[in-house]
């Protein structure tokens, strides 16, 4: 089979790692990073937008709960390449091509964590809120959701870190941030470019993990000192 990168040409030097490549391509690296981060955040934000009502709905009935959880697991089992290419025909060059599959994948982590978080909210706190005359809706947004925040944030953190790796497949349809660069590098057979962007993906995931851990601590000051 003939592949897109199936041609040979001469290159002057193509080491596996090069600091020179890193510094001389700083501009391209920064812009790829911006795209990668934007796609990741858009995907998780869209996922969260759907996950909260889904989790709230799942708490209503036992059968709804297992239905929603099974649905999320089933969607997660769909291979990313298949999902992304299936979206290309519909959204073409719009970033939704990659954002919709990734948001769908994040549901399995987000819904599960939001559910666990909401389940862990103590009945006493909810009773107290009711006793103060809060409506169901206000109890949900003012008591249940904030009390579930640590578990929800842990889910968001996990979702962001795994999405950063998943964005790369978008490069196959020209929507990937680092992924686009990785596929371009494959076509050009550039070792340096490939290793650089693979390492950047791992690095970005590590940075995101640490940043979100700090954010999690800051957002839930009452949990400080407790094991998270």
């Amino acid at each position: 089979m003939r592949l897109p990168g199936d041609f040979t040409f001469h290159k002057q030097s193509d080491p596996w790692l090069s600091w020179h490549y890193f510094t001389s391509n700083a501009h391209a690296i920064v812009s790829a990073t911006q795209t990668h981060v934007t796609l990741t955040l858009e995907s998780v934000a869209l996922g969260l937008l759907f996950a909260i009502p889904m989790a709230a709905l799942a708490r209503q009935r036992r059968w709804l709960r297992s239905l929603i959880l099974n649905l999320c697991t089933a969607v997660y089992a769909i291979p990313s390449l298949a999902f992304v290419v299936a979206m290309v025909k519909i959204f073409e060059l719009n970033s939704l091509t990659i954002v919709i599959p990734l948001a769908s994948y994040s549901l399995v982590i987000l819904v599960r964590n939001i559910l666990t978080g909401l389940d862990e909210v103590s009945g006493e706190a909810v009773d107290a809120a009711r006793g103060m005359g809060l409506s169901d809706k206000r109890t949900f947004f003012l008591v249940r959701l904030p009390m579930a925040l640590p578990t929800i944030m842990a889910g968001v953190r996990l979702a962001v870190v795994s999405t950063i790796e998943l964005v790369v497949i978008g490069g196959y349809v020209g929507q990937g941030g680092y992924g686009s660069k990785i596929f371009e590098a494959f076509s050009a057979r550039s070792h340096t470019e490939l290793t650089t962007y693979i390492l950047l993906t791992v690095l970005l995931a590590l940075v995101a993990d640490v940043v979100l851990l700090v954010a999690q601590r800051l957002l839930t000051p009452w949990r400080r000192g407790l094991a998270s």
Partner: protein
């Protein structure tokens, strides 16, 4: 969109898409390749991962090392590694796909086996030692059997992930069901793309359900004492 539906119908009902024509592989051949790639990767991963985790668990030190390496490995983009191996020393074909898939599938198997063995109650192992068992006998006849439910969870997760991710292997020219997507996308024949997407999604979801059932059987047989 209506023409796409028509194309999908044509693709599904045409004989050549199942049996292959003009040197192109049909669904049956691609399915065989897919099973081969995912199956081989699973066997290699188990052959490396389970003994490795057992050693680390016996050594009782690897805890932090195992979890941090597993976490780092999760953020490595599989596509990137596959493409890197393909342009590098390994070349295009099954090898880069299998190597990348093994790296990718190791974390769930290693972490689950490790946790399974270290979670065995120390009183149980002490009792076994008190009965005159050697270290090796304790491992083989007490710790490993008790760890089976968790090892099974790891194998299930790895198998499902491998089946889904083996789709990407088509990009580096090792065939498999993903080739329906790559070839269809390259030739802009969306009947084939969506046909492939449907086949891959259905088999992935089916495998997930089958593995879950199998896991339940294993858990019942070996008495699950630890949480998933």
């Amino acid at each position: 969109m209506s023409s796409t539906w028509h194309q999908i119908g044509t693709w599904f009902t045409s004989r050549s898409s199942w049996l292959g024509a003009d040197g192109g592989a049909g669904v049956f051949r691609l399915l065989y390749q897919h099973v081969w790639i995912a199956g081989l990767s699973l066997v290699i991963t188990c052959a490396i991962g389970i003994p490795l985790a057992t050693l680390l668990a016996r050594w009782r030190r690897g805890g932090l090392v195992v979890t941090s390496i597993a976490n780092a490995a999760r953020s490595v983009p599989v596509v990137g590694v596959m493409l890197l191996l393909a342009v590098g020393p390994v070349g295009i074909g099954t090898e880069p796909a299998v190597i990348a898939l093994v790296i990718f599938a190791l974390p769930p198997i290693v972490t689950n086996t490790y946790t399974g063995i270290t979670d065995v109650d120390t009183e149980t192992t002490r009792a076994a030692v008190g009965m005159g068992m050697t270290r090796l006998q304790v491992l083989w006849r007490v710790e490993l059997p008790l760890a089976i439910p968790l090892i099974a969870t790891g194998v299930r997760l790895a198998a499902v992930q491998l089946w889904a991710t083996a789709t990407i292997a088509a990009i580096v020219g090792s065939g498999g069901l993903g080739q329906l997507i790559t070839v269809g996308y390259a030739t802009q024949y969306y009947g084939e793309v969506y046909g492939g997407v449907i086949l891959i999604a259905v088999t992935a979801i089916g495998l997930d359900a089958a593995m879950q059932r199998l896991q339940t059987v294993v858990r019942r047989r070996y008495g699950a004492v630890t949480n998933p």
